[in-house]
């Protein structure tokens, strides 16, 4: 970053967001992406969130429920076996991920408040299922800033709804930058207009300064204006993104063998399973992670296999299994897994099928479902929580989204109690009014 733009960033930061009250961070309320040290010991420095949209079937992936007793009950229809030294149960639908069993921390006892997709998805992202609130990635970027000032702190691939990556009450600069919108061809997803050679670089910089000067003049005519602060910062960030993002998005120099391992371009749409080019997303996640982006979300859907459960579940697993395994391989090999927290899960799960019944349909199950985490300071080769014999309820160790959020922030060295803003007279934090509980049992 040039000294000039840095100065301007600080000037901008100082003249806005007077209404933001912040505690739990060192120094004053930030409004830029500058790196900030966490206040407490951090085990993770960055997050890759594998958003499995639609409600993955936990009983056929990670929460093994064989038939018990004489009466058939809902349970696992996939074959399971114990994996690795830890002996974690993982289904045969995920053969590649199963290699990494000893890296995973499986939370089998997740619970959510609702089985309405949109609301639960919003709650998973923002802690609130009705009102607009900052997304988890935005909170993390706000709390810690980011390593690379030429890239956003939070990138969201294949996003569905803007509310899920929104900055909301936080400064706009912390909101997710979307790359590829759900429904588009993800194999082509990129940042539009990232290149422009109509002006020499020096003049582009000079032109940006002129625009920013005009914007500040517009803003100062009316005093403080958070919205225009956001415009000024977004413009600055967009400008800086031109330097690194094009190369990061360009996979043409990746060796063929790497593209193969990640299954880049292997798009098999079957039933609910969409062509998300999940391999490309995983490889891009690794590249942006290496480049110093704080929070990366990638999305595959839909796991909402109401009809043709077996066929669509198999397709969803096959589409995601190898790419995720390749991502974990690479993070591990590069020493990044140690301080990169990988989170896998969706807005809820599904009830199991009952053997002997000629049905192939599953609905929604928000009372008990599975997430897994890896790296970033969580226990490895560990299963947390227990569900009932048919997987329909949590018997032990319930973890709500609020608790998951508190735990993720904790691993990053942030305190969910205090990471808050005041907006419109309301104190807003990720874990809401009720607050969350750091799940100490899964900390390594």
């Amino acid at each position: 970053m040039t000294p000039l733009s840095r100065r301007q960033m600080l000037r901008t930061a100082s003249c806005g967001f007077g209404y933001l009250a912040l505690s739990g961070l060192a120094g004053a309320a930030p409004a830029d992406l500058a790196l900030r040290p966490p206040l407490q010991r951090a085990r993770a420095r960055r997050v890759i969130f594998l958003n499995m949209s639609g409600g993955p079937a936990q009983l056929d992936t990670f929460d093994y429920k064989p038939q018990a007793g004489k009466t058939p009950h809902a349970g696992s229809i996939a074959e399971f076996r114990r994996r690795g030294a830890s002996g974690l149960w993982i289904s045969d639908l995920l053969p590649n991920l199963a290699r990494h069993a000893d890296k995973l921390c499986v939370v089998r006892s997740m619970t959510a408040d609702t089985s309405i997709h949109a609301q639960s998805m919003l709650q998973l992202h923002t802690g609130d299922r009705l009102r607009p609130c900052p997304s988890l990635g935005a909170w993390v970027a706000y709390g810690l800033g980011t390593d690379n000032q030429n890239l956003p702190g939070f990138i969201s691939f294949n996003t569905a709804k803007p509310a899920e990556y929104a900055a909301a009450q936080l400064p706009a600069i912390y909101g997710g930058t979307p790359i590829g919108i759900n429904g588009e061809d993800m194999s082509l997803a990129t940042l539009a207009d990232i290149r422009g050679d109509h002006l020499p670089p020096s003049l582009k910089r000079r032109q940006l300064d002129l625009i920013q000067s005009l914007n500040r003049g517009h803003q100062n005519a009316r005093g403080e204006d958070a919205q225009l602060d956001g415009v000024i910062q977004a413009l600055e960030l967009g400008f800086r993104m031109q330097t690194e993002a094009p190369d990061l998005l360009d996979l043409s120099r990746e060796p063929r063998v790497v593209l193969e391992r990640y299954r880049v371009g292997k798009n098999h749409a079957v039933g609910t399973c969409k062509a998300s080019d999940f391999g490309r997303q995983c490889l891009l996640a690794r590249r942006f992670c290496e480049a110093g982006v704080r929070f990366i979300e990638i999305t595959h859907g839909s796991w909402d296999q109401h009809t043709d459960h077996r066929r669509d579940l198999t397709a969803n697993c096959a589409t995601t299994d190898a790419p995720i395994a390749a991502l974990l391989d690479d993070l591990d090999a590069r020493g990044l897994l140690e301080d990169t927290l990988v989170v896998w899960g969706g807005e809820f799960g599904r009830p199991g099928l009952t053997p002997g019944k000629d049905k192939d349909q599953t609905g929604h199950q928000h009372r008990a479902f599975t997430f897994w985490l890896a790296g970033g300071g969580v226990k490895a080769g560990h299963a947390h929580g227990e569900t009932s014999h048919d997987g329909s309820s949590v018997v032990d160790g319930a973890v709500h989204f609020r608790d998951l959020h508190a735990t993720i922030l904790h691993l990053l060295g942030l305190d969910h109690d205090n990471l808050a803003v005041v907006s419109g007279g309301r104190r807003i934090r990720l874990t809401g009014l009720q607050g969350g509980r750091v799940v100490n049992e899964i900390l390594g």
């Binding site: 009466t71 539009a192 919205q227 977004a234």
Partner: protein
């Protein structure tokens, strides 16, 4: 509110009441049925159950008939049509869930239903005690409250100002000062026309005559029509059908033009809805009127449909889109939840969802050829118009289509039309008028009883059921627009308010249900709804009253004021940003768009390279393809046109910066703007003044003038230091760079 489901089947098949029962029948019930119900069913289906399964009670005869989420438990005399029999047979439904009943008990149930389900348990259950609910505010009748007294009696100009000021005074707050004329002029022009005021205009924006001139402009319909197109989830292609196929809608633009004309002609809103839901069923005095009314029904055909292939639910998915539109778009109720279960929060039982579904099932939806490709939606007919001009394919797309033939050859047209035919999407009565069976859990092949076509009982007026020979669309439209309907007017005035004040009186414009927001000014909302209906549902009169109010004409401040004590500084919508850029550069073509680039082309969009072509026309005439929206509009939060969008997202994103800095449209426009500025006047200062007036409608300050001079001088030096042959073709010069900066400045995109 107490909501008692009406057992709709009573008239057709009454159960044998206690008095009509023979002693043998009574004995059969007491000996066989009651013990079985108690033993096997009451655990989940009685008032004593901890949690009532499927909202169904089996401990009273009226409850069994009224049924639960899946519909009535039985149809007296018809075992095969009775859910309870299907359930104990394990036929689609499986009850009791854990273990099948012994065959003898199953046969007892069949026998019992066959004899007319004699049942002495005639006392109804008080359901209200089970599910107490606060009355839903939006279902209460629309009131006509008198404007409240205020202390600052000189402040209000319109009765609505009394409501605003009273709330402010009660909160101990005062409104800010009035907007200055320049700001108000700009606000009015963008709000009513979506365009900047001409730079040299001097009219007094507080003068009602000024506002009447704006309301009479043909651009008014373009601006307010576009708001409606957001509600109508309007687009010119189907969007990804789940199998990546995205078929074009080559006739959709006729509906766009209908909407624009409707707002320009101030078609009363009740009539507007009537035409869109049932225009094909209305009498027409002229062939042109008939055409117009047919085009209006395009609303119901424009939805994004899933693939037909491997989808037993296709027909019900199309209906779900139509019901969703009526629900969220017109009533502000998420009726769609009731497809699978009684609405968890709003008083919409599943049965009534299927009462509405019957109306659309008895309606034939005409979306057209769907690119004549297998696996997408099947081909349908289209409305053939009598007076409208035909719309032959445009030559602009010929090369790209020739170079990219369909990957699979299209099927023969199932509904061939001569080339001169003018066609339109829409709906008409189906050949077969029939009620819809309830689909248990929303599934394709689990049927409950057939539900007579009808409306939502929670809104009243539902007794007027459609006759046996009509779909019921006309009746539905009349039911929606009766003055007693508590939602239709409220929802629409709130939509209008939102566009003029930056936020709605109800913050969730598409949800007036229990999960939605409560109105900030309930009495004001009712005042406006009453007035709107009393004044003949005139949209122009409503907007005129709002913009002449003191509240509207207040000065702007950053951020929203919860009580409307100031106007919020607002960012323009994507369309207006592009239009304003074109206008600033002197390139905007203000003529109405004619047809569409995609007219006459039944193609799969997903198999083609981008079809967008440079255009100087207003943005709403650009090619609006689902999943392939114009790149000139997408950065600024254009909706994806898959669902009703009452309020657009307005997030600031870094990707918007990239658009302003590098997008070929912005760069090219800046270059032409720069050339125009240089041609307009001699000398730097005069040119800068010209550029400022064109872009911001004002003269630059001294500081800004100096800044411009500095920039232009430095830019020339920088450009000179990079040799001409080094730079690529299409390089900008200093004036182009300067003009791009003006076009990218926030002042162009924000309105005070």
């Amino acid at each position: 509110m107490r909501f008692v489901p009406v057992p709709l089947l009573l008239a057709a098949a009454l159960p044998l009441a206690a008095a009509d029962m023979t002693p043998v029948q009574r004995a059969f019930f007491e000996a066989k049925i009651r013990p079985a119900l108690v033993k096997y069913c009451y655990e989940c289906h009685s008032q004593t159950a901890d949690k009532v399964g499927g909202n169904l009670l089996l401990d009273a005869a009226p409850e069994m008939l009224a049924g639960g989420d899946s519909g009535p438990a039985l149809v007296p005399g018809e075992p095969d049509a009775s859910l309870i029999v299907q359930a104990v047979r394990y036929d689609g439904l499986e009850m009791p869930p854990k273990k099948r009943l012994p065959p003898t008990v199953v046969n007892d149930f069949i026998e019992w239903v066959k004899m007319g389900a004699p049942d002495p348990r005639s006392e109804p259950v008080n359901r209200a005690e089970r599910a107490p609910q606060e009355p839903l505010w939006s279902l209460q009748p629309v009131a006509d409250p008198p404007p409240p007294a205020v202390r600052a009696a000189a402040w209000p100009r319109d009765p609505l100002d009394h409501f605003l000021l009273a709330a402010l005074e009660q909160a101990g707050q005062a409104p800010v000062e009035d907007a200055d004329p320049a700001a108000l002029r700009r606000r009015l022009n963008f709000d009513l026309l979506g365009l900047p005021p001409p730079p040299d205009e001097e009219g007094d924006p507080r003068d009602p005559a000024y506002i009447d001139r704006l309301l009479a402009s043909p651009h008014f319909g373009e601006k307010w029509g576009r708001h409606w197109l957001d509600v109508a989830r309007y687009a010119e292609s189907n969007g990804n059908d789940g199998l990546s196929r995205n078929a074009s809608f080559p006739h959709a633009w006729r509906y766009r033009d209908y909407v624009i004309a409707a707002f320009n002609d101030d078609l009363p809103y009740d009539r507007f809805l009537l035409e869109q839901l049932a225009g094909d069923l209305l009498p027409a005095e002229t062939p042109a009127q008939r055409d117009r009314q047919l085009v209006a029904t395009g609303l119901l055909a424009l939805g994004a449909k899933p693939a037909k292939a491997m989808n037993d639910n296709f027909e019900m998915d199309v209906i779900a889109d139509q019901i969703g539109l009526v629900g969220s778009g017109l009533l502000g109720l998420s009726v769609g939840c009731a497809r699978c279960h009684d609405h968890k929060t709003d008083p919409i039982p599943t049965r009534e969802y299927y009462a509405l579904a019957g109306i659309f099932r008895s309606t034939e939806t005409l979306w057209g050829a769907a690119a004549r490709q297998a696996l997408t939606a099947p081909q349908t007919a289209l409305h053939r118009l009598q007076t409208a001009a035909p719309a032959p394919p445009r030559l602009e797309l010929e090369p790209v289509l020739l170079a990219n033939p369909p990957r699979r050859p299209p099927a023969a047209p199932a509904f061939p039309q001569p080339p001169e035919a003018a066609l339109a999407m829409g709906v008409r009565e189906a050949k077969k008028i029939e009620d819809c069976k309830l689909h248990i859990g929303g599934e394709a092949k689990r049927f409950g009883a057939s539900v007579p076509r009808g409306f939502l009982s929670a809104l009243g007026g539902h007794e007027a059921a459609p006759g046996p020979t009509q779909s019921g669309r006309l009746e539905l439209a009349r039911w929606l627009t009766r003055p007693e309907n508590p939602l239709t007017a409220r929802v629409f005035v709130n939509r209008v308010w939102l566009h003029l004040f930056g936020q709605g009186l109800v913050a969730t414009p598409d949800d007036f249900g229990v999960a939605g927001a409560r109105p900030s000014h309930p009495e004001l909302l009712d005042h406006l709804a009453t007035r709107f209906m009393r004044e003949g549902w005139s949209v122009k009169r409503l907007i005129r009253a709002l913009v002449l109010s003191r509240g509207y004409q207040l000065a702007a401040r950053p951020g929203e004021h919860p009580l409307f004590g100031h106007q919020p500084r607002r960012r323009l919508e994507a369309e207006a940003i592009r239009d304003a850029m074109l206008a600033a550069a002197g390139e905007l073509d203000r003529q109405p768009g004619v047809g569409s680039l995609i007219q006459g082309r039944d193609v799969l969009i997903n198999e083609l390279p981008p079809l967008h072509r440079p255009s100087r026309q207003r943005s709403l005439y650009l090619l609006l393809l689902r999943n392939a929206m114009p790149p000139e509009l997408t950065p600024f939060n254009l909706p994806d046109a898959t669902a009703v969008t009452g309020s657009r997202d307005r997030a600031t994103l870094a990707t918007q910066a990239l658009y302003l800095l590098n997008n070929p449209f912005v760069v090219g426009l800046s270059q032409r703007f720069g050339a125009r500025v240089q041609a307009a006047a001699p000398g730097t200062d005069a040119r800068v003044r010209f550029a400022y007036r064109s872009t911001f409608g004002r003269t630059p300050t001294d500081g800004e003038m100096q800044q411009a001079r500095d920039f232009l001088r430095e830019a020339d030096l920088m450009l000179a230091s990079t040799a001409q042959d080094e730079g690529p073709a299409g390089r900008s010069d200093a004036w182009a760079a300067f003009c791009q900066a003006l076009l990218s400045a926030s002042e162009l995109r924000y309105v005070d």
